[in-house]
């Protein structure tokens, strides 16, 4: 029993990271109907931004909550800026073209970021400094939970609640919802859609960067290609929950994280080796799209002719 709980804890930890990144995907898709392939790489950019901040501001030598907070906030701000820049210079000019064009631009942007970082920072993984001490708490039997796992879970939940507040209780949130409903009508209503879109990108990128910094605390290895797999799985999480649906992204993230870890832990009993972990996310994606394309919490949108 304690093994199961242990695996569950592991899964929910990873799941919280996927949830954070999935939120960005789902918001951007809700507004622009664009899958921002480069979103997973913003997660990586956030981790690197945090790395640079922590090492250059000296937090690496003196771990502290303050240092962690500054690194986290700093990384989020830098990533938000980069996200907005990407939207402004790469996506806005192609918005008027076909879906295929925007998709390919997004893919190209993803590759650009990845290989630019490889060129600048070299492909050698770096280790993110430990900014907070990590202790293990035994729950019962052999099941342990570490403070960094708790931190990831708590911070993710807080950020998600904060996001819900923005979307449902603020004016800009209302504007975001309007634009996601129908961008042209929103324009007619006097909403500055360009601003709203930029804001959405900024918000999504900040969350992804938070995911990056949190993950780096848990698993200190960072490398320029770390965003690919995680980003794809976070996208699957967004689809699973219902793309465009915020609580859905959270739910999707947690489910994917749990499913993955349980396959690793118990897959042998059903003949799935643990090395098929990555395939699990894709298999879930395919199943969801076949059985319930709207996702768990999404609503079916009929296509009007």
């Amino acid at each position: 029993m304690d093994t199961f709980v242990q695996q569950l804890i592991n899964g929910l930890t990873i799941g919280s990271i996927y949830a954070l990144i999935a939120l960005g995907y789902t918001m951007v898709y809700g507004i622009l109907r664009l899958i921002n392939f480069a979103h997973g790489d913003i997660y990586m950019v956030g981790a690197y931004a945090g790395f640079i901040l922590a090492t250059s501001l000296g937090f690496a030598e003196n771990p502290s909550i303050f240092g962690f907070g500054v690194t986290l906030a700093g990384a989020m701000i830098i990533a938000a800026a980069i996200g907005m820049a990407i939207e402004r210079f790469a996506y806005r000019p192609v918005r008027k073209f076909s879906k295929m064009t925007t998709l390919i631009t997004a893919i190209g942007m993803s590759l650009l970021i990845e290989y630019l970082f490889v060129f600048i920072f070299s492909g050698t993984p770096k280790s993110f400094p430990q900014l907070l001490t990590n202790t293990n708490i035994t729950l019962f039997g052999n099941a342990t939970i570490s403070t960094s796992q708790i931190l990831i879970f708590v911070v993710s939940m807080l950020l998600m609640v904060f996001l819900q507040w923005i979307i449902y209780k603020t004016k800009i949130g209302k504007a975001m919802r309007a634009v996601s409903f129908n961008i042209n009508s929103a324009k007619l209503m006097g909403i500055n859609t360009d601003f709203v879109i930029s804001f959405t990108f900024a918000l999504g990128s900040a969350l992804a960067a938070a995911g990056g910094v949190l993950t780096a605390q848990y698993n200190p290895k960072i490398d320029p290609l770390m965003g690919i797999m995680t980003g794809l799985k976070a996208f699957v999480a967004a689809v699973l929950g219902g793309i465009g649906n915020i609580p859905g992204a959270v739910l999707g993230g947690l489910l994917i994280g749990a499913a993955e870890t349980l396959v690793v832990g118990y897959g042998d009993y059903v003949g799935i080796p643990s090395t098929y972990r990555d395939a699990v996310a894709f298999a879930i994606l395919i199943l969801v799209l076949l059985i319930r394309p709207a996702g768990l919490l999404g609503s079916n949108v009929q296509e009007k002719v």
């Binding site: 898709y29 109907r33 664009l34 899958i35 790469a90 000019p93 192609v94 073209f97 076909s98 879906k99 295929m100 064009t101 998709l103 390919i104 631009t105 893919i107 190209g108 942007m109 590759l111 650009l112 290989y115 630019l116 490889v118 060129f119 690919i228 794809l232 996208f235 699957v236 689809v239 080796p273 090395t275 098929y276 990555d278 395939a279 894709f282 298999a283 994606l285 395919i286 799209l289 076949l290 394309p293 296509e303 002719v305």
Partner: protein, 349 residues
């Protein structure tokens, strides 16, 4: 074109390919030769032409978002390789009476058939469920399938697993060139046929096509299956020319390279696909020659920026000229201006 003309053209093309093939061997063609490295590039151009044209059928002419083409190439490559490794020698021995070149060519042709069929089946498996999806979703699903295929192959030790698979070298430029030509001709004929018109109509407006009575699902699956079959063929040729297979060569970046080919050339243009294939094969090699620049104490190797430059080219193409170099034009279009006006066919004007 009358059938006599077709035959003459066919013979001329085969003759040229045969001469080039001879030039690639170590003896050269009466002393004129192409060195190893350049031969390899020319072969890769031909293989990439097959990949680009087959993907163009799916993405360019039918307007679907398939970004997992490398998966079908891998399937064709590995299935045919397994066949030739296990049965190649035996078949050659039993056909020994026909001479070595004929026997090995027959083995290659059987391998190509196997690769194409297996890839087509894979295309069916991937296509039928996925083609109900639209746009971005379809893209991710094709990507997912390609990844699953790659992970599965990686875990099969019988085809080398992580180490790699050594494959006998049945393919040479003559055959590769011939199949490149066959691919272009076949796909061109499909595009110009009624099937092609149905595919293009799906690309232009799927709902309208459906309303006009076009069975969109059937045609989408057809184009998918044909496209994957040819991708499988390219995989077979690649495997038996490279003589070595590793799943590292079939990752997402490979699918992406094929996409760049048709995007740069112009999706929906056969000539564009061929042009794109040539550019994408040659450009990285040209970029390798970029000099190293010394800035203070560090040396910046510009050659290492190859991929960054590639990604930039792609993004800029999308922003500045999204239809690619040729758009939907074909090279034949350029020459229409110089042809005499068609004679009137009589009847009402």
């Amino acid at each position: 074109m009358t059938w006599i003309k077709s035959i003459i053209v066919g013979v001329v093309i085969i003759a040229i390919l045969w001469v080039m093939n001879a030039a690639m061997s170590s003896a050269g063609f009466f002393g004129i030769g192409i060195d190893d490295y350049q031969s390899r590039l020319v072969v890769f151009i031909a293989i990439n032409i097959i990949l680009a044209t087959s993907l163009n059928l799916i993405n360019g002419f039918t307007g679907q978002f398939s970004i997992g083409h490398a998966g079908f190439m891998a399937v064709g490559a590995y299935s045919s390789a397994y066949f030739t490794v296990t049965y190649g020698k035996a078949i050659e021995a039993s056909l020994g009476a026909l001479g070595e070149t004929v026997a090995s060519s027959i083995v290659l042709l059987i391998a190509i058939l196997i690769g194409a069929v297996v890839a087509a089946i894979m295309g069916l498996i991937v296509g039928i469920p996925s083609l109900r999806l639209k746009g971005d979703y379809l893209a991710i699903v094709t990507l997912g399938f390609a990844e699953i295929i790659r992970i599965v192959i990686l875990n099969i030790d019988a085809v080398g697993g992580a180490t790699g698979y050594q494959v006998p070298g049945y393919a040479n430029f003559l055959w590769i060139g011939i199949f490149a030509v066959i691919t272009v001709v076949v796909i061109h004929n499909i595009v110009k046929s009624d099937t092609g018109r149905a595919l293009i109509s799906i690309r232009e407006d799927e709902l309208a096509a459906e309303a006009m009575g076009v069975n969109t699902t059937r045609f989408k699956v057809t184009s998918f299956v044909i496209g994957s079959a040819f991708a499988g063929v390219s995989g077979v040729l690649f495997a038996h020319y490279n003589k070595f297979l590793s799943t590292n060569d079939f990752q997402f970046i490979k699918s992406f390279e094929i996409i760049i080919m048709i995007v740069i050339g112009g999706m929906g243009s056969m000539t564009g696909a061929i042009l794109g294939a040539i550019i994408v094969t040659i450009l990285p090699e040209v970029l390798r020659q970029l000099p190293d620049v010394q800035l203070g104490s560090t040396i910046i190797r510009f050659a290492d920026l190859r991929l960054v430059i590639f990604a930039l080219i792609l993004i800029l193409t999308m922003i500045l000229r999204p239809q690619g170099i040729l758009g939907t034009a074909e090279i034949g279009g350029f020459f229409k201006r110089f042809r005499r006006a068609d004679k009137p066919t009589g009847g009402l004007k």
